[in-house]
């Protein structure tokens, strides 16, 4: 990881923990490149909904 990436990562770490978790998981999925954009959208919607339910 280069220095600027580290800065960007630090910016992400300023976000709420729940948001960070979902973003990082999505970034890994994007990096692995084995899901379509549509599948990625379905995954994040599902995760966000689960997160909201669990928060309640």
């Amino acid at each position: 990881m280069n220095n600027l990436q580290a800065d960007i990562k630090a910016e992400l770490e300023k976000l709420p923990l729940a948001d960070q978790k979902i973003i990082n998981e999505l970034l890994i999925d994007i990096e692995n490149d084995d899901a379509s954009q549509r599948q990625l959208r379905e995954i994040v919607v599902q995760k966000v909904q689960q997160m909201i339910v669990s928060e309640e």
């Binding site: 280069n2 220095n3 600027l4 960007i8 970034l27 994007i30 990096e31």
Partner: protein, 669 residues
């Protein structure tokens, strides 16, 4: 990332075990020499295989013919053979090892892959203890990607002759995409950008779905309004972005005109002096003409001088006659002298000189008035008058002549000065006129346009702020709509959350994209100026990267010359871009944290470019590994510079023993 050692076994033409180490620190240059076909690209291939498991390089055209296991062994033994490549490297003060192997076998004259393996591990503090992290090929890929992502490797490991990073340079089309992709890939903003799209699109999809499922008229209306507002916002943001680009272009033009005005200030001052001198010269020529005309007008008057010689002779004759005559003195003078006993003319005392008194008495006795005396007086007076007039004419002619000489001197002097000033002015008259025109007309117009566009930006900003507030209000209203169904409530909250995360990501991208663009432009200029030739430096005045990541190379005339640059210049530009990109990524560090691995680096470059690279690249990167042919590393040109710079840590020669065997032999520089 710092390469330490490469072990190659039965890989490509490297039969048996071969090892090479890489220079680092102050001796961070590694030279790997080899003739064509000796296996330089085999080293490149071994590194790419070790790091990413690549069987092919981007430059490979005939993929089916590339096999990684040593073909000589494969053919001679008829048994499955294994090629192994182990790369040792350091990253963030930790030493790592990555090892890949590939077993191939030959059957019916066809070579096939049997198995492939990978291992990734690290050395503990004392470097004696090795700890395997994983031998799962997928996991190894993830580990390596964390260090040097696969999509950015092309910036650090490349065949310089085929360096096509800025391949769009010749047609202008894909340069912006290359630059933007480069920045976004290296900073991993690309993935973040994809993430933003996923969240924002998911939010829109969910919102529509919710609206349809809810069937609530108020919610639907709000949804429609939100969609319209979002569309308006996108349009306004796009317009604002366009105006910002236009302002940037106008500012570039303004800066350029100012530069041209400043650069040519001397020429223009000289031109002003030249203009004044030319005006003076014109006046002098006019005055000379006047004097000449005056002199021509005197030609009639000077005719008297033609006869003046005989007039002079007549005057002498008349004077002689007058002198010889007895009536030379008036009678009253003679009488007065005798009466007073003192000569009235010379004051001589006649009492003391009786001989003189006697002479005067003789004169008085002989005295008689002659009729010719009057005539002689008239002739004498006329001659005196003519002589006086002639002297006046001569004086006037002398003055005319002197004036002509003076004017001619001044004219000669002015012409010489004008010639000298003219030779000091490097710009043509047209160019000077053009600059003056730019200063008087274009510059005020451009400045006025910038001012108008800045006002427009202000208006757009206000409109955007209003729409953003409206959107926020609409979304808040939508959130207030009573939803009884719990599932739909969750969906609505999910939409809000998805939107929020999308915005958070957009903000990070926006900040770092702008920052990176500015830094990249700055660094690229510095590096490009260090590595190009003095001649190119005089041709290229600036490099710009716009907000849309469009690259412009500006010539000295202020025009874009991106489409006119040579292949060599394009390669230097690409190198400057790569190095600048890595410098930006390594923010704050003195050099780039990645090795620069170049195959055939100097092929297209002239001597000055080569020298500049040899002198500068070792200071810009943590390591520079060069795969060079004998024509790229000559005793006469490159080697003396390498020796003088003293940055070469390791030198190897690829000795081709036969078609299937190359040995890597260490050498001294």
């Amino acid at each position: 990332m710092q390469l330490e050692k490469l072990k190659i076994s039965n890989f490509r033409q490297f039969e048996g075990d071969n090892v090479l180490e890489f220079g680092y620190g102050q001796q961070n240059v590694t030279l790997i020499k080899g003739t064509n076909g000796a296996g330089k690209t085999g080293i490149f291939r071994a590194i790419m295989f070790a790091l990413y498991g690549d069987h092919y390089l981007e430059q490979d055209t005939t993929r089916e013919d590339i096999h990684l296991v040593n073909s000589k062994l494969l053919n001679s033994t008829g048994l499955p053979m294994t090629a192994t490549v182990t790369l040792y490297f350091r990253h963030n003060d930790v030493s790592y090892l990555i090892k890949r192997s590939l077993t191939e076998f030959k059957s019916d004259n066809k070579t096939s892959v049997a198995t492939e393996g990978a291992e990734f591990g690290k050395f503990l503090a004392d470097k004696q203890q090795y700890q395997k992290i994983t031998d799962n090929i997928d996991q190894v890929r993830v580990e390596v990607n964390n260090i040097l992502p696969q999509n950015i490797r092309k910036f650090f490991f490349f065949d310089a002759e085929k360096l096509d990073l800025l391949s769009g340079l010749q047609n202008g089309g894909s340069v912006a995409k290359s630059i933007k992709t480069g920045v976004f890939d290296l900073l991993q903003l690309s993935n973040l950008e994809t993430a933003s799209k996923v969240f924002n699109q998911a939010a829109r999809d969910q919102s529509k779905e919710l609206s349809n499922q809810l069937g609530d008229q108020q919610f639907k209306e709000l949804e429609d309004k939100i969609e319209t507002t979002n569309n308006d916002l996108s349009r306004l943001r796009e317009e604002k972005s366009q105006i910002i680009d236009e302002i940037e272009t106008a500012k570039k033009e303004e800066e350029l005109i100012k530069q041209q005005i400043a650069q040519n200030r001397d020429d223009r001052a000289q031109a002003e002096i030249l203009k004044n001198k030319e005006e003076t010269l014109s006046s002098e020529r006019y005055a000379l003409n006047e004097v000449i005309n005056e002199a021509i007008g005197r030609i009639d008057d000077t005719a008297i001088d033609v006869v003046l010689g005989s007039v002079d002779k007549a005057g002498i004759k008349v004077e002689n006659i007058q002198n010889q005559r007895s009536d030379k003195f008036a009678k009253a003078i003679l009488t007065e002298s005798l009466n007073n006993k003192v000569c009235a003319l010379c004051g001589n005392d006649l009492s003391a000189h009786p001989e003189n008194e006697e002479h005067i008495q003789v004169l008085l006795k002989k005295f008689q008035v002659s009729e010719i005396s009057g005539v002689l007086n008239i002739v004498s007076n006329s001659l005196m008058s003519a002589n006086s007039s002639s002297q006046g004419i001569q004086a006037a002619v002398t003055r005319n002549y002197q004036s002509i000489v003076n004017h001619e001197d001044k004219i000669n002097k002015l012409e010489h000065e004008i010639e000298q000033i003219g030779s000091q002015i490097t710009m043509s008259q047209n160019e000077l006129k053009n600059i003056t025109n730019k200063e008087q007309h274009t510059l005020p117009n451009v400045q006025s346009n910038i001012s108008t566009m800045t006002e427009k930006i202000g208006v757009k900003k206000d409109q955007i702020t209003k729409l953003e507030n409206k959107l926020q209000e609409l979304e808040a209203q939508q959130e207030q709509v009573q939803i009884k169904d719990n599932n739909l409530k969750v969906k609505r909250d999910a939409v809000a959350r998805l939107k929020r995360i999308g915005k958070e990501i957009d903000q990070i991208i926006d900040t770092y994209s702008t920052y990176s663009k500015e830094q990249l432009e700055k660094q690229m200029k510095v590096i490009f100026n260090q590595i190009i030739t003095a001649e190119d430096r005089s041709l290229i005045s600036d490099i710009k990267i716009s907000n849309n990541f469009e690259l412009s190379v500006i010539g000295k005339n202020g025009m874009s010359i991106l489409n006119d640059i040579s292949m060599g210049q394009s390669q230097m530009l690409s190198l400057a871009f790569i190095t600048a990109l890595a410098t930006v990524a390594s923010k704050g560090r003195n050099n780039v944290d990645f090795p620069l691995f170049m195959d055939t680096p100097f092929g297209r470059l002239d001597v000055e470019n080569r020298t500049n690279l040899i002198k500068n690249i070792p200071n810009m990167t943590s390591q520079w590994v060069l795969l060079v042919t004998d024509t790229e590393l000559t005793e006469g040109t490159e080697l003396p510079v390498f020796k003088q710079e003293n940055r070469v840590g390791k030198v190897y020669s690829l000795n081709k023993m036969d078609d299937g065997t190359t040995k890597i032999v260490p050498e001294e520089i």
